[in-house]
């Protein structure tokens, strides 16, 4: 009987955990039948199990919830917010009682009647409860959790490395068998051995791992409750990236994560009124995402709230004697934000019950650092905060992509890989801008870098046969990594790499291929950083916000923002640009009236943009617009960035210039038509 009870408790706990995300999702979309069914199944199971045990309160609670939900299922009733809240309250009460029973305590002395009454709060006549569809025993089995045992982790490690050694021995044996002429009679047993070993390996490698969703599943509910309490509206986006995490690690990171999320909702995201006043959507966005790399799991918590006021933090730190004014001047933005983790410092104006003031972040950081992790905070006042939690992984299986450049093989975690495109001309299109390769995939322009360039190795592949691995970084930025070959998708056991190699900044671990040869696993963010591909948090949040505001009607147009020889910034629509190139100043001719021409491919093309200057250096940067009949070259001093603008935002000034807003500044915008018209006017003047 005790066993049965323990199983009932364990089953209920597991279901409760899995359920909390479902309830919130159901609230967001009450017509979601699958979610409703999941919740119904839970209360039904609890009710059913109560039949075996003497738990009258659980039975009454689950019975009432089941009845109400059955009405919704039968479409006799709509799932309105009051019903959802009432069901949530009942599930919470069930959880309390289950915990109490599990710990062998008295059931909490609370009155269940108001909760049950709240189910009918919508004022509808309670329809006679129909008999709930009975569940077959098989269905019930399915939802029960399998029995578990506890094992010391070292033992698992030993078993695991034993199995790995066995796999290497198997491969060696396979090579030797292949060297034998003719039949050896060993093939069949060898194949059987291989199959068993593959199974065993699969099972062993999964033992320590659990999907990170188990950790994340409770967060939507938590954010919902918290935002209700604070009178805020928060939308939660969770992206678990198929990350698996060490069971032990889940427990260790849960509290720090909860704290960071509470902080983001409490101090980061503003009230709807404040958000409206700041020109944002009323609903705040909280993104929780995870990525797995060789020896680290990266968990990002990104909000689009008011950000951290770094100046205020610094002022407080100086006032409290933590820093001298001179030291404070030397801090970079990230170090300033890190001050929020110092004991006693917080910029929150009021102390709230939710996350307190200044208490906690120091503890959070200490706990993360204790397990060898780190916390990085990027924030832009007014537009949001990104907290990046890096936690180590002593042992992990990473679904990976093995890629090649030259003769070398590297692994990259598949969770970073968005897509792979071939340089075929139909799917994508490639251009050089300011010495950097950009590819366009389905209208999106993506900066690229060759892996051989980053690692200083030789590429042995002609450019047109290269493959581009599109990589999505934790923050959401995408860049392209050009490689010679993609070898395989495989699940690799990644082990930490020696500190001396870790220090290069390009690797996070090592792994072995089936033939036993070691392969380094790339540190994707290290590669991105070295290629200058990590952009500021700000740009991204702005873009994101725009997308969310009017997802359907806006088509953003890419533009190249450049600085002219007169020092001012201008933008040109990317689609108008035929080519960007550098030409020797020898081919340049400037006339007395300030007009200029340049020889391109044996033709004389009018050149504008020099602002009367004749560049000293041997080469001049220019872009070309137009077609073969009418072409114009535009000289510029430097490229500032690539931007996207909304055509609806473009205004025409009194002087006939088209202006667009980039980063809050008005910037003159060109397209091919205006430029060619100007060019024609200039050429005409010359003639």
């Amino acid at each position: 009987m005790d066993d049965l009870l323990a199983e009932f408790i364990a089953e209920s706990r597991d279901m409760l955990e899995a359920l909390s995300g479902e309830v919130v999702a159901w609230e967001a979309d009450p017509s979601d039948r699958a979610r409703l069914d999941a919740i119904f199944r839970f209360v039904h199971t609890v009710k059913g199990n109560c039949g075996f045990f003497e738990f009258p309160r659980l039975e009454a609670l689950s019975h009432a919830a089941e009845d109400a939900l059955a009405d919704v299922r039968a479409e006799r009733r709509r799932a309105d917010p009051s019903l959802v809240t009432a069901v949530l309250a009942i599930i919470d009460r069930i959880a309390e009682i289950v915990e109490a029973i599990g710990d062998g305590r008295e059931e909490p002395a609370t009155d269940d009647a108001p909760l049950i009454a709240a189910l009918d709060g919508s004022g509808e006549e309670a329809a006679p409860a129909p008999a709930a569809p009975a569940m077959s025993p098989a269905q019930k089995r399915q939802s029960a959790t399998p029995r578990t045992i506890r094992l010391p982790v070292e033992l698992l490690d030993r078993v695991m490395s034993g199995v790995s050694d066995m796999a290497v021995a198997r491969n060696d044996l396979s090579r030797r068998l292949a060297q034998h002429e003719g039949e050896t009679g060993l093939e069949a047993p060898f194949n059987r051995l291989s199959a068993i070993l593959a199974d065993l390996r699969e099972a062993i490698t999964r033992i320590r791992m659990q999907r990170i969703d188990t950790l994340f599943s409770g967060f939507p509910r938590m954010v919902r409750d918290l935002s209700h309490e604070l009178g805020k509206q928060v939308m939660v986006e969770i992206e678990s990236g198929d990350v698996e995490i060490d069971r032990e690690m889940i427990e260790v990171v849960r509290d720090p994560l909860v704290h960071l999320i509470r902080n983001a909702v409490d101090h980061g995201i503003e009230t709807p009124a404040d958000r409206r006043a700041a020109g944002k959507r009323e609903i705040g966005l909280l993104q929780i995402s995870a990525r797995q790399t060789g020896s680290e799991i990266r968990i990002g918590i990104v909000d689009d709230g008011k950000g951290i006021d770094g100046d205020k933090l610094v002022a407080k730190a100086v006032a409290s004697g933590l820093l001298s004014a001179e030291e404070a001047k030397l801090l970079n933005a990230r170090e300033r934000n890190a001050l929020i983790c110092e004991p006693g410092l917080s910029t929150a104006k009021e102390v709230t019950a939710v996350s307190g003031r200044g208490v906690g972040m120091d503890v959070v950081r200490a706990n993360i650092e204790k397990i060898g992790g780190s916390l990085m905070i990027d924030s832009t006042p007014g537009s949001g905060t990104r907290m990046m939690l890096n936690i180590p992984l002593t042992l992990s299986i990473v679904p990976s992509l093995t890629i090649g450049v030259g003769k070398q093989v590297f692994a990259i975690p598949r969770s970073y890989v968005e897509e792979i495109v071939r340089n075929s001309g139909e799917e994508m299109d490639s251009t050089q801008i300011g010495g950097r390769e950009f590819i366009t995939v389905r209208g999106q322009r993506i900066a690229c870098v060759g892996l051989e360039e980053i690692l200083g190795v030789e590429s042995t592949c002609p450019p047109e046969a290269r493959l581009y691995v599109l990589i999505r970084l934790v923050g959401g930025d995408i860049f392209g990594l050009a490689v010679d070959a993609i070898h395989n998708h495989e699940e690799l056991v990644v082990k930490p790499i020696a500190p001396v190699l870790m220090a290069c900044g390009f690797y996070v671990g090592t792994t072995q291929l089936d033939d036993g040869s070691p392969v380094p696993m790339l540190d994707v963010s290290g590669v991105a950083r070295s290629a200058g591909m990590i952009r500021e948090v700000k740009d991204r949040s702005l873009r994101k916000e725009r997308r969310h505001e009017r997802p359907d009607e806006r088509v953003l147009v890419p533009a190249l923002l450049f600085r002219g020889f007169d020092g001012s910034e201008r933008a040109v629509e990317m689609d108008s640009v035929r080519r960007i190139e550098k030409l020797p100043t020898d081919s340049l001719r400037t006339a007395a009236d300030g007009t200029a021409q340049i020889v391109i491919d044996g033709r004389i093309v009018p050149l504008v943009g020099l602002a009367g200057e004749r560049p000293e250096s041997g080469e001049i940067n220019l872009f070309r617009v137009g077609n073969d009949r009418a072409e114009l070259a535009y000289a510029y001093a430097s490229i500032v960035d690539l931007y996207e603008f909304d055509p609806a935002d473009v205004v025409t000034s009194q002087g006939g210039q088209r202006l667009t807003l980039i980063d809050g500044r008005p910037v003159e915008l060109f397209d091919a038509t205006t430029l060619l018209a100007d060019g024609a006017a200039l050429s005409g003047a010359e003639a």
Partner: protein, 145 residues
């Protein structure tokens, strides 16, 4: 008295490595190069199912490379749960180690000075006792990555 020392030769000289951290002596089959690694790190190699970081001792000691070696011979040591294969010219013998290494009373070549713990007298003659951790660390000046 239980301590012993593995004598190896590197660059024509005799050197000793404390045998307590030595796991194995192997001939390296294949070495996977690791781009952008420090000069003295030859790459990665496998010892059964574990990866080893291959350290070229000659480079680490700033000595000229060995000519005409067919296969790299390496002493495998374990430090902080990582395996390192220290590539040496030859492995000589195991000798008992008694007493602490003595301070070297002369200026050595810079590479040796950095990696040596001191001088020891052995039955095979005087040798420098090496600190594998310093061999792995390599010369202080790093190639700009």
């Amino acid at each position: 008295m239980d301590q012993s020392l593995l004598l190896v030769s590197i660059g024509g000289e005799l050197a000793g490595i404390d045998s307590a951290i030595i796991r194995s002596v192997v001939e390296l089959e294949a070495i996977t190069p690791v781009p952008r690694a420090p000069d003295h790190i030859a790459g990665l190699a496998a010892l059964r199912s574990r990866a080893m970081t291959v350290v070229d001792c000659r480079r680490s000691l700033e000595l000229p490379p060995l000519e005409g070696a067919a296969k790299a011979l390496a002493v495998v040591v374990e430090i902080d749960e990582f395996l390192y294969a220290l590539v040496v010219d030859a492995v000589e013998e195991v000798v008992p180690l008694d007493g602490d290494p003595a301070e070297v009373r002369a200026d050595l070549l810079p590479g040796w000075t950095r990696a040596a713990l001191g001088m020891i007298e052995t039955s095979a003659g005087p040798a420098l006792m090496l600190d594998p951790a310093r061999l792995i660390q390599g010369p202080a000046k790093r190639e700009a990555a």
